[in-house]
């Protein structure tokens, strides 16, 4: 086999999608590194601790939801239209339960880790408030965004299987950190 040609083929197939994901990640990074966000990390000890879990679990929840939608379409179990469908509604509700539930767990975990280590931490209600608010906002955008994009691409003749990974990473990065910041502001005002 021609190894060089094979390397170029694999490279060309993936470089576009990785670039899109890179842009989403850079935007998220710019928000994280911004002065207001750094101030939030100083103000709420524990926020930096929960950041990797918060960013990484979304891929699992919404990636699985997207994969399920895509398999369902391919298998003819659901149809690409926005009408009441018990399977679709169940999958949407389950993603909300998983996405919002795990956000609360992450807030509690990060508080518990700092308590166990005897380190300074923000109050439990602050950390859980932040993860809950950002979890709710993120799940609304990602669940409905994915339904729209997966159905849209399927109708358009594209295989959603190839698009879910990059869609989830990009939407997740962009909205995840923006909503995390928004949640910090909301919790700061309310608590």
């Amino acid at each position: 086999m021609d190894v060089g040609a094979e390397v170029r083929r694999v490279y060309r197939e993936s470089v576009g999608i990785l670039s899109v994901s890179l842009l989403g990640g850079l935007f998220a990074g710019a928000v994280l590194g911004s002065e207001p966000m750094r101030e939030a990390f100083r103000q709420y000890p524990g926020l930096l601790l929960l950041l990797p879990a918060f960013l990484a679990t979304r891929g699992n929840v919404y990636g699985a939801f997207g994969a399920r939608l895509s398999s369902g379409l391919h298998q003819g179990l659901i149809r690409p239209e926005l009408a009441y469908d018990e399977r679709l509604v169940n999958a949407v509700v389950a993603s909300f339960v998983n996405g919002i539930g795990i956000s609360v767990v992450i807030g509690v975990l990060s508080w518990a880790v700092l308590q166990a280590l005897g380190r300074e931490s923000a109050r439990l209600v602050e950390l859980v408030g932040i993860t809950l608010v950002s979890g709710v906002l993120t799940s609304v955008v990602l669940v409905f965004g994915l339904v729209g994009l997966v159905f849209g691409s399927y109708e358009f003749g594209l295989d959603p299987d190839n698009l879910i990974g990059p869609i989830v990473t990009t939407l997740g990065d962009v909205f995840g950190v923006v909503f995390l910041y928004l949640a910090v502001v909301i919790v700061g005002v309310m608590l």
Binding site: V10, V15, L26, L49, L50, N60, Q75
Partner: protein, 196 residues
């Protein structure tokens, strides 16, 4: 990204499309992953001073968390497809295997070099600038290390799934993406500590 075992709906029933079934299958896994991610968060929190003093390093964090998993997922999907087609050998002289490894390392070089340059530009606009060379070195070295780890973990996970008679499509990608998510921040922090 954890992909649940493909919807195996028995006949007319809702099968795996019940809310309760989906939550019961996924939630315990999510909790375990979040606990593991705390290890990564702990590193970030411990190096709080370094990250908050060099905000440009924070710009790298989301890409470091996600990109290793993306590269691992691309590589694993290829390994797994070749396994199903019966064309994969785990022999060290398998040319197609090395072609895929080379392609992944080229992709990693492109992405993490671009990340270093772009983060430097972003860093200048949001905070005090950080040395250009330092940043590109940190981004490239941690990115290439992460890509190499992603390749090793993918090969190991595919081989183990194959030996145990599991379908690597269901096992490898979730394992690889999650392990890389966890390692991303740890590798970045280790490299940044060495360079700075």
């Amino acid at each position: 990204m954890t992909e649940p075992a493909a919807a195996d709906t028995g006949g007319e029933g809702l099968g795996t499309w019940r809310t309760r079934t989906i939550v019961a299958t996924m939630f315990p896994l999510l909790v375990v992953l979040s606990v593991l991610e705390m290890g990564s968060g702990y590193v970030l929190e411990s190096l709080e001073a370094t990250y908050l003093d060099n905000p440009t390093l924070l710009v790298l964090v989301p890409v470091m968390i996600g990109m290793g998993g993306n590269l691992g997922a691309i590589f694993s999907a290829r390994l797994s497809t070749r396994l199903h087609l019966g064309t994969l050998s785990f022999a060290p002289r398998d040319e197609a295997l090395w072609a895929n490894v080379a392609a992944i390392m080229c992709l990693a070089t492109t992405v993490f070099a671009a990340l270093g340059v772009a983060a430097w530009v972003v860093g200048r606009t949001i905070a005090s600038p950080m040395g250009f060379a330092d940043l590109v070195v940190i981004s490239l070295v941690s990115g290439l290390l992460l890509a190499a780890l992603a390749v090793c973990i993918s090969v190991a996970a595919t081989y183990l799934s194959y030996r145990r008679g599991l379908d690597p499509d269901d096992t490898t990608i979730p394992v690889v993406t999650n392990v890389c998510d966890i390692l991303g921040v740890i590798v970045l922090s280790a490299v940044a500590t060495l360079v700075l």
